[in-house]
């Protein structure tokens, strides 16, 4: 792989962290067949939840933070609990203390303490054609598909390495060829609201690590967020196109591709497949974290029909702070609006066994990452059931 003169200097004479960062990018670039590194405008780093990375990750991050400093604006994925409310959630003090150390390590590196899986809801919206290095699969899908920015599905350490160097291996979704559609999903009948997440789960299974192209789908930006989040969970997709809607659909190149029809009947089957619980002890909303508009809508719904079981609502700290009335309404109805964290990476298995959620991403990961049974259903039905 070719490095620029500046990158070669960093490799030879950089700080220990810079030298490791260059080696990581070189190794990953060689594995992927990249010819060089491409400069990035921002990085988004996953691997911040103590529940996910454990003592091994904490040890590495604290060591690395001694001399690692990010070279581009860098945001960080959700933590394993809310740094302000952990006591009320029954989170063990040792867990919260180690979680806070992870946060401090990232902040020492110069990363911005967003602790959000939806950087696009907190003003981090790269321009069309801008190269970035983002990990967190839903954000990757959103950046590529909705914004037209360019990023691979980075791993946490590779996105961190890219943040230090200001560049990332140039392959896959950074190149025009990697952004072409690989399969057409022909959506039969009207699919909207919650069912968009079911469509994402179905499409991820069909597309695998490819780029699905949706035909016959009408959606707004919020729908596309839920579509991408589910798609990037059941599949290892980093991008999708929607005909006549997303910025690069004309360049998707669908001629000769396999066409797979997905009907509302198929989506009913998806919902049944991901539902293995019968009686929930927690309602979880978010995953990805909610936007301000979504938080307002939840406040309205929960206020109208306060549930008899706990409701955890996930939003970024920035969104939570910007919508105090919605937070007050939800918490006044017995719910909790949690910041700094999100559904699958948060510690909840110490208290709950079955989660009801409308999140396709949540339904996909809750069994493996949180040892939960799942009820995958739309929010109105869940609130009605547990009123």
């Amino acid at each position: 792989m070719r490095l620029t003169a500046a990158q070669e200097r960093m490799r030879a004479d950089g700080t220990p962290a810079q030298r490791k960062a260059i080696e990581i990018l070189t190794a990953i670039g060689e594995l992927a067949g990249a010819e060089d590194l491409v400069k990035i405008g921002s990085a988004h780093v996953s691997g911040a939840s103590y529940k996910m990375i454990g003592d091994a990750g904490l040890e590495f991050l604290e060591d690395f933070a001694r001399d690692a400093r990010v070279a581009v604006p860098t945001s960080v994925n959700p933590l394993g609990t809310d740094l302000a409310q952990w006591r009320d959630l029954g989170v063990p003090a040792a867990f919260a203390e180690k979680q806070a150390r992870i946060a401090r390590a990232y902040e020492a590196m110069g990363a911005s303490p967003t602790y959000s899986c939806t950087p696009y809801h907190v003003g981090i919206r790269p321009a069309k054609g801008e190269h970035v290095a983002w990990s967190e699969s839903n954000a990757v899908c959103f950046a590529n598909s909705v914004l037209g920015a360019r990023t691979n599905r980075e791993g946490g350490p590779s996105a961190l390495a890219a943040a230090l160097v200001g560049a990332t291996p140039n392959y896959g979704l950074h190149l025009d060829g990697g952004r072409r559609a690989t399969v057409v999903i022909d959506v039969r009948g009207r699919v909207a609201g919650f069912r968009i997440s079911l469509l994402g789960l179905a499409a991820g299974t069909i597309a695998g690590d490819g780029v699905p192209y949706f035909r016959g789908l009408r959606a707004d930006e919020a729908d596309l967020k839920w579509l991408g989040a589910a798609l990037a969970s059941s599949g290892s997709c980093g991008m999708f196109h929607v005909e006549r809607l997303t910025p690069e659909w004309r360049a998707a190149g669908t001629r000769g591709l396999e066409v797979v029809r997905v009907s509302n009947g198929d989506l009913d089957a998806v919902q049944a497949k991901y539902t293995d619980g019968s009686e929930a002890d927690l309602i979880a909303l978010g995953s990805p974290q909610l936007s301000g508009e979504e938080l307002e809508e939840i406040a309205r719904l929960v206020g109208r029909s306060p549930p008899r079981i706990p409701v955890w609502v996930f939003a970024s700290r920035a969104v939570r702070d910007a919508h105090p009335a919605a937070v007050a309404a939800i918490e006044g109805s017995g719910g909790r609006v949690l910041a700094d964290t999100c559904l699958e990476v948060t510690l909840l298995e110490h208290r709950f066994g079955t989660v009801a959620t409308p999140s396709g991403k949540g339904a996909y990961y809750l069994p493996s990452l949180c040892h939960q049974k799942v009820i995958l259903e739309d929010i109105e039905s869940i609130l009605e059931r547990y009123a």
Partner: protein, 267 residues
């Protein structure tokens, strides 16, 4: 002998090989404090990674593996070098973070646990100073969709009683293809052979000897094979049956290299 390899993480190490035949996860696969292997399926449970040239085909499991490798290296409990068939980002990142030399595209058939391995990632090769390379040919002879396998007699020096293709030693600097034609003629009496494919070499170990196998595929005009002293039984078999034979090491790999992977039989 020397094996070609691809540099993944820089450095050089001289170590004793530890070879897992199956994929390996550093999360749960090894004690993160001591480097003791916990994974039963590796066949190495109880062995220690510490200071070894750890070889495994490919990684599996959680991305936290990168950090586990880092922690092992930091405590001096990690491997001295990593050798893989096919590297992945999790292990590669761990090797870089831990400062462990790492290569991939290594033919792990050439390695046995206990071998001395000298890994030079920067130069792109792995040396086995105590292993002698011996080039051989293995010819698969095809007639009307079936392939000739022979069972080796008791008087052959290596792998008596095992099933194999038609094989023999490459002598001096002769062309392996010519040697393959000669061996088929001598061992089967078949004439009118047409060369159809020559696969990349692969290595099969027999004690301190490493047979560097040159695989070939020939079409023969008939199945009228007459065996000489080396082999005691001949069968014309379907390609999909070859992995089921009690065969010389890596026979199925050699077959796959000239014909693509064996097709799974329909149930």
């Amino acid at each position: 002998m020397r094996l070609p390899a691809r540099r993944i993480a820089p450095g050089r190490a001289d170590a004793e090989a530890l070879v897992s035949r199956g994929p390996f996860s550093f999360v749960g696969g090894a004690d993160p404090a001591t480097g003791e292997i916990l994974d039963e399926s590796s066949g190495l449970r109880g062995a220690s990674l510490r200071g070894r040239g750890f070889a495994f085909p490919h990684g599996k499991g959680s991305t936290v593996g990168s950090y586990v490798i880092y922690g092992l290296a930091k405590r001096g409990a990690g491997p001295a070098a990593l050798l893989m068939s096919r590297a992945d980002a999790i292990v590669a990142v761990g090797a870089v973070l831990g400062g462990i030399p790492m290569v991939d595209s290594v033919d792990l058939g050439a390695l046995l646990t206990g071998d001395r391995v000298v890994v030079d990632a920067d130069a792109g090769h792995v040396d086995l100073p105590d292993v002698r390379a011996t080039p051989v040919v293995t010819a698969f002879v095809r007639n009307r969709g079936r392939f000739l396998l022979v069972r080796r007699g008791d008087r052959v020096s290596a792998f008596p009683g095992k099933w194999s293709g038609i094989s023999g030693f490459v002598e001096g600097d002769e062309d392996p293809k010519v040697r393959a034609v000669t061996e088929v003629r001598e061992e089967t009496g078949l004439r009118g052979l047409r060369l159809r494919a020559a696969g990349p070499t692969l290595v099969a170990r027999h004690g301190p000897t490493a047979f560097v196998v040159h695989p070939f595929l020939f079409d023969a005009p008939s199945r009228a094979a007459r065996l000489d002293w080396e082999n005691v039984e001949a069968r014309w078999v379907r390609g999909a049956e070859i992995p089921d034979f009690d065969a010389v090491p890596r026979l199925a790999d050699a077959f796959a290299s000239v014909l693509g992977p064996p097709r799974v039989r329909k149930r």
